[in-house]
């Protein structure tokens, strides 16, 4: 199974994690590859921590074991830290520079996590910090943040750009396609600079 490429996408319910993983899955299909993906549905989507495991060329398990992700895409800083142990030592880490403090932290008056401290803990080799919010706005809508992140990760994925475009076309609403393709390009440019 050495040809399996493991991509883990994490974030918060409502951020479009599932749609991002759908783009990857669809791209696999376009290339005639097998793919196994496991998604969070149900209750956790109510603002909880969510994860999508995408196993490109996968044939059996839909879940990536800890320490086996080739790529970890996180839509949020705390989630990046929560799932970091899934990454291989030589894996690629693409992180959105965006912090959402869980409401329980405020309600229970716990220490509020700080961006700088989190970044310090996260930084390492092959770490890419993306300002997805700014790039999404530049693309035309903050709702395209998830596609910005896919674009940013695309330089590391074993999938062709045309296949990923195919995936985007299949999964975003038709009238937002242009915007999302732009979001993809802006994200991609951010990691190739």
């Amino acid at each position: 199974m050495s040809d399996v490429y493991n991509a883990l996408i994490v974030g918060i319910g409502g951020q479009g994690v599932v749609l991002a993983s759908n783009v990857l899955g669809e791209a696999c299909l376009a290339e005639g590859r097998t793919v196994r993906c496991s998604e969070t549905h149900g209750m956790a989507q109510r603002g909880g921590s969510v994860e999508s495991h995408v196993r490109i060329n996968g044939r059996y398990s839909p879940l990536i074991p800890p320490g086996q992700a080739d790529l970890l895409i996180s839509f949020e800083l705390l989630e990046a830290l929560r799932y970091r142990h899934y990454l291989k030592p030589e894996g690629t880490f693409v992180v959105n520079e965006y912090l959402v403090v869980p409401t329980s932290v405020y309600v229970q008056r716990l220490p509020v996590p700080q961006k700088d401290e989190l970044l310090e803990q996260l930084r390492g080799d092959r770490f890419y910090l993306i300002d997805a919010q700014a790039l999404a706005k530049e693309a035309g809508s903050p709702l395209t943040q998830n596609i910005v992140m896919v674009g940013a990760a695309s330089t590391h994925l074993p999938l062709a750009i045309t296949s990923l475009h195919e995936g985007i076309k299949r999964w975003v609403p038709a009238k937002t396609l242009e915007m999302n393709l732009k979001a993809f390009d802006l994200g991609r440019a951010a990691t190739t600079r």
């Binding site: 969070t40 549905h41 909880g48 921590s49 398990s61 879940l63 074991p65 329980s104």
Partner: protein, 589 residues
């Protein structure tokens, strides 16, 4: 034929279309809900319904099946408890048109109150059960399950788990059938009227059929073997996928895809090995069958502690079991790094502007020392707000509350139950509470939908599964008809009125019902309702923290500065809580 990237539940739905299903019923429940939702998206020409509960769904399907049409019933595992009554006897009566009952299990209880194993029900009822190990497998099995049901004349239980239902993969889908059957009921009391004289005969026939069931499942290829050496892994469900991925070379692989298992076949394959490791999720169903025929073959699994008996399996747990059984060396197991410590948890939370939060807030204010039996729905998240004291199963708020009352508890009892849950199994409890003289307040959290499972309609919404209009059931009229004298309906976004309603209710005895009605914010957004957001005036805010403790995810506070984020849905409740009047509607831009 086409190759597609689809969700397990979508593949299951598609398989039903390929098999020409004619009738579909079910009650929403994670991880099963997307099956019917997918069928609805196909704009079916046949009958598809969200039933009031699982028992109703199964009985509907049985009736349809007895007329000769192909039927599908979907539910989550605990829904099968509700449907257990018709299930048990449906094995006696049998079916005419193929009848497939999908009961989706949830190992690890991702979204459930327990980890029960639907396969046990199949054994209990003496029904065949299919246990898929991948999305393609689920698709293929379900497509053929209707003809299996017809061949045996029995309902077929289909048991996927969360990791099948919510897995996406590349799948080969077939053509959707265009022909549909039309039902016609042929009277046959010996089969369909289970009076004692008939049922004794039916039971004997069911027992006599069991060898045929085993033989048929074997013939249809649900048991497969890849024989290699003296060690074997025998696996079912998603555990088979994990085992296949890391199977040590030279180890045999035996896959169980259905139940009951033919013992003779099983004895032959097991005794051809020196050691076998059984990998399955939840109960040791396969393992018990294996142990009965193992003879001198050594059997490892849950019963000797090598495989966990709770939760879900995974590749790391499969490695651990293989190591414990001595099939691989500890050095063959990849190292797993440790998770970061101290990361604040992020559990699911009620949406910004959810009516439940406002209702709980007022409830706790008025009934400070109350006991709060609750029920199953988004509002169970009220646990985080200290507003949920009990939750066991659907419809068990009013009934648990009644028990607490009659036992002599003197604190006020305030039950909360959602609209869909109330219709599902709440009504008998309410009737019983009135009839038997309980004294309590029942709050119906009426958000006009079945929110937690993805916003399915129900009889009080005025719309059907396929979007048709239907006369809405009146919750007020039901409560009155159950004998409740005190029924009041309020808007939970209007905090003073809601509080006053609770205060009034507190003055009476007997069963009092307060219906808090406001659409779920997600439903409201879909319906195009837009409310102006709220903001905090930093001049007036004294950082007292009252609004923060309310717990709306749109309210943030850092360094004594409270702000409202763009998650705000404009319910306005926090503005009514703020003693300084510092929260106000944003000016229109």
């Amino acid at each position: 034929m086409s190759r597609r990237y689809v969700l397990g539940n979508e593949a299951i739905a598609h398989a039903c279309l390929e098999a020409g299903v004619d009738f579909v019923s079910g009650y929403p429940g994670t991880p099963s809900s997307e099956i019917i939702e997918t069928l609805i998206r196909f704009k079916p020409s046949f009958h598809v319904e969200w039933s009031v509960n699982e028992k109703v769904a199964l009985e509907n399907a049985l009736g349809a099946s007895w007329t000769g049409v192909r039927t599908l019933v979907t539910m989550k595992h605990v829904g099968l408890n509700v449907a257990a009554d018709p299930l048990m006897t449906s094995a006696y009566t049998g079916v005419k048109g193929g009848c497939v009952i999908v009961s989706a299990d949830d190992p690890f209880a991702h979204s459930s109150q327990n980890e029960q194993d639907s396969r046990c029900y199949a054994k209990f009822a003496k029904l065949p059960c299919l246990d898929p190990c991948s999305v393609q497998d689920a698709h293929d099995m379900l497509r053929d399950a209707f003809s299996l049901s017809e061949e045996l004349g029995l309902p077929v239980l289909f048991r996927p788990t969360t990791r099948i239902c919510h897995q996406k993969s590349d799948v080969e889908l077939g053509e959707v059938a265009t022909e549909h059957r039309k039902g016609s009921f042929q009277k046959n009391p010996q089969q369909f009227v289970v009076i004692p004289a008939h049922t004794r005969v039916l039971h004997r026939r069911l027992n006599e059929k069991q060898p045929l069931v085993k033989e048929t499942l074997a013939r249809r290829g649900y048991f497969s073997t890849d024989l290699k050496g003296k060690d074997a892994v025998i696996a079912s469900g998603i555990a088979a996928a994990y085992a296949r991925e890391i199977l040590p070379p030279g180890t045999s692989f035996i896959r169980i895809g259905a139940y009951p298992i033919d013992e003779r076949w099983l004895r032959d394959v097991i005794t051809a090995h020196e050691r076998v490791l059984v990998m399955e999720e939840l109960d040791p169903m396969v393992e018990e069958a294996v142990r009965q025929v193992a003879g001198s073959t050594i059997v490892h699994g849950k019963l000797d502690g090598m495989v966990p008996s709770e939760g879900e399996l995974s590749l790391p747990l499969t490695y651990r079991a293989l190591t414990a059984a001595g099939f691989i060396n500890a050095t063959d197991v990849p190292l797993a790094p440790v998770p970061a410590q101290g990361v604040p948890v992020r559990p699911p939370i009620m949406c910004a502007g959810c009516m439940h939060r406002a209702t709980f807030f007022a409830m706790k204010k008025v009934f400070k020392d109350g006991i709060y039996p609750s029920d199953i729905g988004c509002y169970t998240l009220g646990l985080q707000l200290g507003a949920v004291d009990t939750c066991i199963c659907m419809g068990a708020s009013i009934t648990i509350g009644s028990g607490i009352y009659h036992a002599g508890e003197t604190h006020p009892i305030v039950c909360t139950i959602g609209d869909s849950t109330f219709l599902h199994t709440g009504i008998p409890g309410l009737m019983n509470a009135v009839y038997n003289g309980a004294s309590m307040v029942v709050v119906i959290l009426d958000n006009r939908t079945t929110a937690m499972t993805g916003h399915q309609p129900h009889p009080a919404t005025g719309s059907t599964a396929l979007g048709g209009e239907t006369p809405p059931v009146s919750l007020e009229a039901i409560c009155r008809a159950c004998g409740v004298q005190y029924v009041e309906t309020v808007d939970p976004y209007d905090l003073p009125t809601l509080t006053a309603a609770f205060q009034r209710a507190a003055e009476y005895t007997g069963v009092r019902v307060v219906i808090a009605r406001q659409p779920c914010v997600i439903i409201a957004r879909r319906a195009g309702i837009q409310r102006q957001r709220y903001m905090v005036d930093p001049e007036r805010c004294t950082a007292c923290g009252l609004c923060v403790r309310f717990g709306c995810p749109a309210i943030e506070t850092t360094d004594e500065i409270t702000t409202i984020t763009d998650l705000c849905s404009g319910c306005g409740v926090c503005a009514q809580i703020c003693p300084q009047g510092a929260i106000m509607r944003e000016a229109r831009t």
